[in-house]
């Protein structure tokens, strides 16, 4: 067992340091790159926090939808394949819900401020 602090706590501490202490000292293109870098650290923190629960639910949904077992990668490949072949489509019960839930979970990690995501979250209960 690894000791504390956790990776999440460490990354958050680094991101906060860069945001509060370093960003105000830097200007121009480096300031832009620093902002992007801080965004990347924040993304990693969100992924560490949310990924396990999201992946488990996605795997369960895919297993039901496809009636098969496998890793998340294998299941996604199988779904992609069946959509490409026209074996499942938006009329297939559960497909639209699955794609929506999976996409919402991705946005919660990637870009929680994206306007389309916030709209869907707010108006439709996500």
């Amino acid at each position: 067992m690894q000791d504390e602090p956790t990776p999440e706590e460490l990354i958050k501490a680094v991101a906060d340091f860069l945001r509060s202490d370093i960003a105000p000292l830097i200007s121009g293109h480096h300031a832009f790159k620093l902002r992007v870098s801080i965004n990347a650290l924040d993304l990693v923190t969100r992924q560490i926090t949310l990924e396990q629960v999201g992946d488990a639910a996605e795997t369960a949904r895919l297993s039901r939808l496809l009636a098969m077992q496998g890793t998340l990668g294998e299941l996604n490949r199988a779904l992609a394949d069946r959509i490409a072949k026209g074996e499942v489509d938006l009329q297939t019960p559960g497909l639209a819900d699955h794609l929506w839930q999976t996409t919402m979970d991705k946005l919660a990690v990637d870009q929680p401020n994206y306007a389309s995501y916030r709209r869907e979250l707010g108006e439709k209960g996500g």
Binding site: V36, N39, L43, I83, A84, L107, A115, E120
Partner: protein, 325 residues
């Protein structure tokens, strides 16, 4: 750089005594943009150099800088807001291939155009203006155009599929979109025109008075004119203003009205089809950025983070193809 530019400028700009303030603005390995001032007794002239250094080939989809210069001159002469092309580089300039154009003052950064008070008067007018500009571009006479790729939706979808499969990463939403596009491809357009190919924020210079210049003809081709109208409506170019489909500043009706004021016709169904095409296209471009991040030794964190924006286009595709009740 200033010495080479000075020699070049002296050869075609009578009275010019040199150049000053040359700075590189942007660009990747294959293409550069420089800003500089031509020193002239009658007053300095702001100029932009767009060039590919010697030995660099352009991407297969790019028209090439010489063709870009021809298109910009045609657009300028037809009344499209456009920088005047001052000089097309020649071998003796020893600056590579490319051209020098007049520098147009204004803003290209979407967030400023959409938020700053400076552009408050321009915003409500832009969609109609841009519709008008696109109509003029689409009306340029074909025989005058340089050689360009002839594209159709079917060809483009095939390229999307090839790109998507090259990434080796399953994306069920992209598969759904590809399937939707193949099933609903309206077929080749009856009318084939010049298509700008990248008509959106970043490639438009905006001033407080409205649109001042159309830039970057790199992806110009022949095809369905509705493609340009669909591309500027893609949600990725709304920068948060998602209820204003045209670039985050306007309504489709205004864009269409500006376009039709010239006598040209809009096919709203085709425009919507191209909006879905464009959404997937930007999603694939995000995935391409992730590939370049991985394969490129410079490990650009910007490219890496653009890779994580592909999911934005997935939610936008779902909003278009499978809206929730």
């Amino acid at each position: 750089m200033e010495a080479s530019l000075g020699r070049c400028v002296a050869s075609w700009c009578p009275g010019a005594t040199g150049v000053t303030g040359a700075v590189r603005l942007s660009g990747g390995a294959s293409q550069e943009t420089w800003s500089f001032d031509i020193v002239h007794p009658a007053g300095n002239i702001g100029a932009i150099l767009r060039r590919a250094p010697q030995g660099h080939g352009a991407s297969p989809r790019a028209v090439g800088l010489n063709a870009e210069a021809v298109l910009m001159r045609l657009a300028y002469d037809a009344g499209v807001p456009s920088p005047r092309v001052l000089h097309v580089l020649e071998p003796q300039d020893e600056l590579g291939t490319g051209f020098i154009m007049q520098r147009v003052d204004g803003e290209t950064i979407a967030r400023k155009i959409l938020r700053d008070d400076r552009y408050a008067q321009a915003r409500p007018k832009l969609a109609r203006q841009l519709g008008n500009v696109l109509a003029v571009i689409h009306g340029l006479p074909l025989p005058q155009l340089p050689e360009l790729r002839r594209m159709t939706a079917a060809k483009e979808i095939a390229e999307f599929e090839r790109d998507y499969h090259s990434f080796g990463w399953p994306r069920p939403v992209f598969e759904l979109a590809l399937r939707w596009l193949r099933d609903r491809d309206p077929g080749p357009s009856q009318e084939v025109t010049l298509v700008h190919g990248d008509f959106r924020h970043g490639n438009l210079i905006i001033g407080p008075d409205g649109v001042r210049a159309v830039l970057d003809w790199e992806l110009a081709h022949l095809g369905d004119p509705m493609e340009d109208l669909g591309w500027i409506c893609v949600n990725s170019w709304r920068f948060g203003e998602i209820d204003k489909p045209v670039g985050g500043f306007g309504a489709r009706e205004d864009l269409f009205a500006g376009y039709q004021s010239t006598g040209r016709r809009v096919d709203p169904d085709r425009v919507m089809f191209w909006e879905v095409m464009g959404t997937l296209r930007w999603g694939l471009m995000c995935c391409g950025m992730m590939q370049r991040f991985r394969s490129n030794p410079e490990h650009s964190v910007e490219r890496a983070m653009i890779g994580r924006r592909a999911s934005e286009t997935e939610i936008d595709l779902l909003r278009l193809l499978a809206p929730r009740a």
